[in-house]
C-alpha cells in the first residue's frame, strides 16, 4: 500500500508517483483503491499510468503508455456556509443518529485489469510504480490543467481478485 505522504512529486508539481510493486499473475480483476479522497473543492479527474513515471496530462490514453484508467470527482465546489460548516467532524458515537457529514472523504476505484496484465507481460520487474495525473475539471474547458493540491487522499493500494464475476468461475463451481 502506498500512502500519500510517501509519494514523490519531483519537479512536475501536482503529478504523484506511488511506489507499488506487484508481480503475481494470478488474478481475474485488478483495482486500484483510493481511500480518503477529498471531494470538498472543485471537480477533478485523476489519470492513472502504470510504470510510466514521465506521464503527464498530454500522454496518450494508450495501454502501450501504461494508461490504466481514470476516475473523476464531482466536487462540492467549496464551502458556502459560515465558519465550520464544511468541517468534517470525527467519527460519531453509535447513539448519534445523524448521518455522516456529506464531505466525509470517499473511496473510489480504478479497474486496471488489462493494463496490469500488459505491464506484467512486458516488464520483468512487474508493476513498480503508479503515476497519478490530477487535472482540474473546470467549468470552462480551456481552463483545464494539472492542478496541484486539488487531489488529496489518504492512500492507494492494489486489490486483485481471483474471480471477478460469476462468469469467471470454473464450470465445476457454477450452480
Amino acid at each position: 500500500m502506498a500512502v500519500a505522504s510517501d509519494m514523490k512529486t519531483g519537479e512536475r508539481k501536482g503529478i504523484l508517483i506511488a511506489p507499488l510493486r506487484f508481480k503475481d499473475q494470478r488474478f481475474t480483476r485488478a483495482d486500484l483503491v483510493f481511500t480518503g479522497v477529498d471531494h470538498s473543492g472543485g471537480s477533478y479527474e485523476v489519470v492513472v499510468f502504470l510504470n510510466n513515471t514521465g506521464a503527464t496530462d498530454t500522454t496518450a490514453h494508450d495501454i502501450e503508455q501504461g494508461y490504466g484508467g481514470r476516475f473523476v470527482i464531482f466536487g462540492h465546489g467549496g464551502c458556502f456556509g459560515d465558519a465550520g460548516h464544511c468541517d468534517v467532524p470525527p467519527a460519531r458515537p453509535s447513539d448519534d443518529l445523524r448521518p455522516p457529514h456529506q464531505l466525509t472523504p470517499t473511496t473510489t476505484i480504478v479497474t486496471i485489469t488489462a493494463a496490469l496484465r500488459h505491464v506484467l507481460a512486458t516488464n520483468a520487474d512487474g508493476l513498480t510504480t503508479v503515476t497519478l495525473v490530477p487535472v482540474a475539471i473546470t467549468p470552462r474547458r480551456r481552463d483545464r490543467a494539472i492542478t496541484p493540491d486539488l487531489f488529496r487522499f489518504d492512500d492507494v493500494s492494489l486489490r486483485t481478485y481471483l474471480f471477478g464475476t460469476d462468469s469467471d468461475l470454473p464450470a465445476a463451481n457454477k450452480n
Binding site: 464531482f74 458556502f80 456529506q102 470517499t106 473510489t108 475539471i137 467549468p139
Partner: protein
Amino acid sequence: MSAAQLTSFRQAVTASMGVSDNRGYSAWAGIHGLPGQFCQHGTPLFLPWHRAYLYLFEKSLQDLVDGVTLPWWDWTSADSHAEGIPTSYTAATADNPLQSGSVAISASDIEQLEESAPGVMSDGDNPTTVRDPGPPTDLPQASTIDSILDAPTFADFTTRLENVHNDVHGWVGGSMSIIPIAAYDPVFWAHHAMIDRLWYLWQMRQPNVLPPAAMLNAALAPFPLTVSQTLDISQLGYEYAVAAIN
C-alpha cells in the same frame, strides 16, 4: 421520446420554471446544490437519494402537466456519440426551456462562484446555466456500462457507476461541472434519469443483491422516503425501457 412526449415535457418544465414557490423548478434545483446542499455524493446513498429526488421532481411536474415523465439521456448511444447533448436540449428556440435554467441563488453565492469557478454561469444580474461540452466521442462507452452492470455487489456497482456519472458532469462542463448549481441545468435530470435507469438494469440482473442491510432504513433527507422505499421502481409507479428507442 416521441414528439408529443417532448412537447408535454417542455410544457411541464416551462410551467415549473414559472412557479416561484417551493413547488417550482428553482426550489427543486436548490435542493441538490445551493442553497439546500442535501445531495449525496461519494456515499452509499448516492443512488437511492437521487432516485427519490427524480421521483419527487417528476411528481411535481405531473402536478402541472398530467402524465408527463422525465426522459433519460443515453450518453452511450450512437446518436450521443455523434451529436453530444440531445438536440431537444440544445435547440435555440424561444419555446425550449431545456437549453438552460435560471440560477436562483443569493448574490453572495453568485459572487463566490464567479470567483472560484469562472464560467460556471452566464454573466449579469440574472445568471443562467451554461455548458461547455467535450467531443461527443469522449462520452462513456456502452462497453464500459456493460462491464459495470456485471458488478457483483451494490458497493462495487455504485462506486463504479458514480465515477461514470461524475465523468458526464465534467463532460457537459459549465454549470454541470460542479455540485452547487448543476441541477439548475435541465439536462441534469436527463443525465440522472440515465443513472437511475442503469441502477434499475443492474437490479434486474442482480435481483437478489441488495444494498447493505444497515442502510436500508436510512432516511433520504429532505425527502419523506427511506432507502428501502426506493428499491422497487414499480412501487414508485414508473418503469424504464430496457433498450433505447430512438
